[in-house]
Every structure is written in structure tokens, then in C-alpha cells.
């Protein structure tokens, strides 16, 4: 019994030479979802525009999470584009413009072309981020999970951002807390968790 699996053969007993004619196959939603899941974020964005049905599929949170889990790991690079000190000296913070870009972690996954900068622009803030205090890095990206980024953009203001769909959402505000208080409660930052 040497390796019977190699001997298997497909036999079509009466083959008809029909070519498949499937010009307009209607692909069911699960298949479309599977296809879109294989795409990089930028291409997913194009799908938003293809049709209403696809818009619905590609903005579904479950889809986005599944998509993010499938994508290769990327490093996020943060660039301080411009920092402006306001004239009014009672304003104690600068206004910063920040850009984020990503680079693939795995070297062989870097995009086509020998370009010097394989970074892909991920996000440019739609508005200026206020630096809270010298001690806390300005407009911080705090965490990321399943492709969603969490930012702190004000003392008690947090936003989440999905670079694939370009959707921003502000989280419910936390109660105003004096971070210089000598006793708790203090709220500094938080991240994602699954539950």
C-alpha cells in the first residue's frame, strides 16, 4: 500500500465540453465579505462607494474587526507637522497638527516599488489637537484594537477613529476631574479590552 492518495484520479464518465457561462454571477454577501476581508484598508474604502449594499457590509463593526484581525501587523508612525503657540498667554498649551502613517512590520510585505518611503498615510487629524500639559504627550494616540484607534484630544475628551472607513466618534465625556488634585479620583488614560 504505497501512498494510495497519489493514485487518485478524477474520472468524468461522460464529459460535456460546456464552458461555464457566468458573466453575471450574483455573489452572496458572505463571499463578498470574504473578498473584501482580503483587501488592504485603502481598497476597502473604495468599496464604500461601490453600492449601498457594499457600504453597509464594509461599515459593519463586525466586518471591520474581522478585517483588522486579518491584516498584517503595521507600525504606526506619528509626525508632529506643526506646533503653534497661541498668543494669549493664558492659554497654556500649543496647538499641534499631527499626522500618522503606517509601515508594515514584516519587511517582505512592503508595497510595490523601491520608493524610499513605504509609509502609508493613515490619518491626518481633521482638527488641531490641543496639548493638554507638558507632562502628557499632546493629542495622544493611546491604544489600538482591531483596527480602531483611540485618541485623547482634550482633558476629558476621547475619540475613536477607524482609518478604514474614516469614521470618527467621540466617546461619552468623563466627568471633569482635576488632574492636579492631590487625592483621587484621577483619570489619566484608558485602553481597549474585550469582554
Amino acid at each position: 500500500m504505497e501512498n494510495p492518495s497519489k493514485k487518485s484520479k478524477t474520472q468524468a464518465t461522460h464529459r460535456q465540453g460546456d464552458e461555464p457561462v457566468a458573466a453575471h454571477v450574483h455573489l452572496p454577501e458572505e463571499i463578498i465579505t470574504e473578498i473584501v476581508t482580503c483587501l488592504p484598508g485603502k481598497s476597502v474604502l473604495c468599496f464604500l462607494a461601490v453600492s449601498r449594499a457594499w457600504h453597509r457590509i464594509t461599515t459593519d463593526p463586525e466586518f471591520l474587526a474581522a478585517h483588522a484581525r486579518r491584516r498584517p501587523l503595521e507600525v504606526i508612525l506619528r509626525t508632529l507637522v506643526k506646533s503653534v503657540r497661541p498668543r494669549d498667554d493664558w492659554v497654556r498649551y500649543n496647538t499641534d497638527d499631527i499626522a500618522l502613517a503606517t509601515v508594515m512590520v514584516s519587511g517582505d510585505a512592503v508595497g510595490p516599488g523601491p520608493g524610499p518611503n513605504p509609509a502609508r498615510r493613515l490619518v491626518q487629524y481633521p482638527y488641531s489637537i490641543n496639548r493638554i500639559a507638558p507632562a502628557s504627550p499632546q493629542g495622544m494616540m493611546i491604544d489600538s484594537c482591531d483596527g480602531v484607534l483611540l485618541f485623547k484630544i482634550g482633558r476629558c475628551t476621547y475619540v475613536i477613529f477607524n482609518p478604514v472607513t474614516w469614521q470618527w466618534a467621540e466617546l461619552p465625556r468623563l466627568p471633569e476631574i482635576d488632574t492636579r488634585a492631590s487625592s483621587p479620583p484621577w483619570t489619566t488614560k484608558f485602553g481597549f479590552y474585550r469582554h
Binding site: S5, A22, L27, C38, C46
Partner: protein
């Protein structure tokens, strides 16, 4: 490398099953290969498909089915090894080469294939074709994507929505 591995290899002597395509063509194939399909696996475990009665597949035509089985036969040994933890790099490279060539086919065949893989629940084949279709779509504009996927031309309303989207996310199409 001469590993007989006669143990629990489903029935030792390769058991054959018969599959019948929508256009009534009969395909005889090893049960181990057909079992890459989750749907067929259940029937086969129940003892179906042997002898004279085959398993009818009313949703799959013969051209598609022979392509599907080509994939299953190639992948069956690796699948039997449980995702091939002990496969050599050469084996894996060979499978990869086969896969790349396998999906290098006409678009309409690809779509029939992915439909069949979906119906028969052949996970590996479905994701292989999905990746291929994704590669075809990558970098295309919404309009080109519609054409690639055989959508009808957009209504004026849809066209307006697409234009608005292009304006908003123009950077994504650079």
C-alpha cells in the same frame, strides 16, 4: 521520508465516492479528497456516495466540479496531516505554486469556483479564490470594481454618490 503512516488513515485502502454534477456527470474521487468539503464530509461519514449511488450536487456543473476536485486531490494529503505540521518546505512551496497557477484562470470560472467552494464549504479553496478576486480589485476605482464584479451600470443617483465619495476620499485613490 518513507513514512508509511498506515495508522488511522481513514480506511487504509482509499475509499472512493462518486459525485454527480448538475449536468449529470459522474466523478469518482477518493473520499479523503472529497472530505475537504465540510458538506460532503458529513455525507461520506454517514456512508454515502459509495457503490452505485453517487452524491448529487445540483448546484455545481461538471466544469466547475472537475476544477474543485483538482484542488481537493492536490490538497488532501496535506489536510490529512492536520494542516501539514510535518510537511516539508518543499511540499509547502509546491502547494503554493499549485495554488497560484490554479487561480490563474478566467474571471467567470473564478466566480463559479468560489460559489462552489462556498456551497460545498471548502474553506481553503474559498479563501484562495477570495484572495485572487481581491487582488484583481485592489487599487481599482469604485466604478472599475463594479465592472470587475459584473454589476449593472450605476443609476444617476448612485453615480452622484460615487462622485461625492471620490471627492471626500480622493486621497485614497492616489
Amino acid at each position: 521520508m518513507a513514512a508509511p503512516e498506515s495508522g488511522d488513515g481513514n480506511n487504509g485502502a482509499a475509499r472512493m465516492v462518486t459525485l454527480i454534477s448538475s449536468d449529470n456527470t459522474r466523478f469518482e474521487v477518493e473520499a479523503a479528497a472529497a472530505s475537504l468539503s465540510q458538506t460532503l464530509q458529513l455525507t461520506i461519514l454517514d456512508g454515502g456516495g459509495g457503490g452505485g449511488d453517487g452524491i448529487p450536487l445540483p448546484n455545481v456543473d461538471s466544469a466547475t466540479l472537475s476544477k474543485v476536485l483538482e484542488y481537493c486531490i492536490k490538497h488532501a494529503p496535506a489536510a490529512a496531516n492536520g494542516g501539514a505540521p510535518n510537511a516539508t518546505a518543499v511540499d509547502r512551496a509546491e502547494l503554493e505554486r499549485f495554488d497560484n497557477e490554479f487561480v490563474n484562470i478566467d474571471q467567470s470560472v473564478l466566480y463559479s469556483l468560489i460559489m462552489a467552494a462556498h456551497n460545498l464549504e471548502i474553506e481553503g479553496l474559498q479563501s484562495l479564490v477570495a484572495k485572487k478576486v481581491a487582488d484583481m480589485i485592489k487599487g481599482k476605482s469604485p466604478m472599475e470594481i463594479r465592472r470587475t464584479l459584473g454589476f449593472p451600470d450605476p443609476t444617476p443617483e448612485e453615480q452622484a454618490e460615487m462622485n461625492a465619495h471620490m471627492l471626500e476620499y480622493g486621497w485614497a485613490y492616489e
